[in-house]
Symmetry: C2
Subunit: 344 residues, 2 copies
DNA sequence: GTGAAAGCGCTAACAT
DNA sequence: ATGTTAGCGCTTTCAC
């Protein structure tokens, strides 16, 4: 039933050592025996037991991936990028969801240590502030790369999108479209990504010679509801904004829904742009402008970075590598009052 | 640096066997030694090497999961369900994407065999017609459960949604709303799920005493484009339909987009319902009625079924178990011309 | 270019 | 309730 290298060795009157070398394409094994071994292996339907191999060699060719939830489009897309490239490089993906909880994160890391993954890719849970559990990987010599959600202070490589630039570009776009009183709906500011977008917004205003008006910044919790609340707040003002940059697309969706209810026309009366390029953006009415975070590329880059770390184990891992991806503007109806836009 | 049970055994003047048993909570080990072992393990920061454990025991506590793509919402959601319950049961998920290709599927299965997963959950790639590569798992004694996309002929347990019933319910709903000339846009009919939905459609018409009109069935390829093409076809007819049941939501989306362009009012002039309950459904205008496939539940049920098979290895695995989940109707604006509907 | 021997860390018979 | 012994299947020195 189960064929091992011992069976192959016996049949060929070789030792298991030689068979193992032949299967691993060892340079000092003659081509003839290699051929014989490989052929017999195929004929006998031999399959290497990777558990045994891993135990001896210490390599599992498996990497652990922690995401908040596979249900979130964004992370599904990143995982898609990771798995594709990992696969072509002979690595497998062990998938864990943190559900935004530090406790689950901790469990994942312990499991990864137990199964001796060769490396870990992770996006930090919203709940997590202290990341010492991640540092345990380091102490065990397991390379770690953060993607999307990372921590600034620590010396861990990461792949993120340039949120500052994204915020800047989004705001600049609204300015170029002739909007002048531009508001921002932000998110939990202890998360760097939201903070960066806010700063990009401010910076774009400065660059245009417009003073930041704190009353035009609404502090929300990143949800459809937050967008609706923001509209209520803004359109209760004596002088409401004529443009809104929302920190992400669900917030922007709330803005659009509430604006419709109030009879505020988009993009004529109010320009709207979000962030994330969610799949619904192009299907709603009006279609929603947004900043694409290059999710699949992010996954690929994160894996490539991790792979480098895996191979350079011995060398200085202290160099701080941070890959920063350019956000890509996706301008649609919700913010385009100056051009003819593709009909829905 | 790395602590093994030998270190624990030495410190406590016990054998590795006893330590192993203590750590595994073996019934015949005294509470006192258990306590001592566990405490020392914690103190020395011991972590079981699961590779070694797996090699010896033959169990990896890992299951392989094959999905077409993590980028597809539906599968992300199912994976969410699988991972959650697997995790609470002490199982890890090895994730593979088939990209709808038989070749990748084959690779995934070989890998799963090599790493000795305890079981496999899979959704068959669109391209795949011959599933003998899946049967290899069986021959190696690795349990397999299909979810969503399964094959009827073979004797493999599966968890699917009742597509026939879903098609029936969707069509029936349109009838109840007073639509009389109801069309259907179908998909690749070699896939059972699409075939079942078509039959549900036909059956609902029969039950209402309406003859099936073949000219009202459009054969599409499951895409936004297919929906648009279908509208062109239907509204080129002398007597166009007044209701459309689309085989899934992207097709329905195409219908809505094309209808808007043609000035066909929804739901007044044309009722539309899709299938899948995609996340965009409730955000488009008009919001799209659809049939929910209970994705998270599907993942949970699939795992539970697999777990049973893993534990019953020796027993007859020949019984054909097919869990069929009820689709859940999500009626929204696109099909509701008789009731007052929540505004967007 | 191949063999001999050891061992990765754990678990499971079989003892007692 | 614990010890003895063996071995899961592979890789890897160290020989020659």
């Amino acid at each position: 039933m189960k064929v091992t290298i011992q069976d192959l060795a016996a049949q060929l009157h070789l030792t298991t050592a030689t068979v193992s070398r032949a299967l691993n394409n060892h340079p000092r094994i003659s081509d003839s025996t290699k051929k014989a071994v490989v052929e017999l292996a195929e004929k006998m339907n031999y399959r290497r037991n990777r558990i045994a191999s891993s135990l001896r060699s210490g390599k599992t060719h498996t990497i652990g991936v922690i995401i908040p939830s596979a249900e979130i489009n964004f992370f599904g897309s990143v995982v898609h990028g990771i798995e594709s490239i990992a696969n072509t490089n002979g690595y497998n993906i062990l998938l864990y969801q943190s559900n935004e909880s530090t406790e689950y994160e901790q469990k994942a890391i312990e499991t990864f240590i137990d199964v001796r993954v060769d490396g870990v890719l992770a996006s930090i849970a919203k709940e997590t502030t202290d990341i010492t559990h991640y540092l345990e990987l380091k102490s065990k010599g397991i390379p770690l790369v953060f993607f999307d959600r990372s921590k600034d202070m620590v010396n861990i490589p990461s792949v993120v999108v340039d949120d500052f630039k994204g915020g800047y570009m989004a705001t600049q776009h609204l300015l170029q479209q002739g909007y002048r009183r531009i508001a921002h709906i932000t998110g939990q500011l202890h998360l760097k990504i939201f903070n960066d977008r806010l700063n990009g917004y401010k910076s774009a205003l400065h660059a245009a010679g417009i003073e930041v008006d704190e009353s035009l910044i609404y502090y929300g919790n990143v949800s459809i509801e937050a967008g609706k609340e923001a509209i209520n707040y803004f359109f209760g003002m004596a002088e409401p904004p004529d443009g809104i940059f929302a920190v992400e697309d669900f917030t922007a969706l709330g803005v659009i829904k509430a604006a419709k209810e109030k009879g505020i026309s988009i993009p004529e009366q109010l320009g709207v742009i979000g962030f994330a390029n969610e799949s619904f953006d192009e299907h709603i009415t009006p279609s929603l402008s947004s900043m694409d975070q290059q999710t699949v590329l992010m996954g690929r880059e994160a894996f490539k970075l991790l792979l480098e770390l895996i191979y350079e184990k011995e060398e200085v891992q202290l160099k701080k590598v941070n890959v920063v991806l350019e956000p890509i503007a996706r301008f649609r109806q919700s913010s385009m009052r100056q051009m003819i836009v593709n009909k829905l």
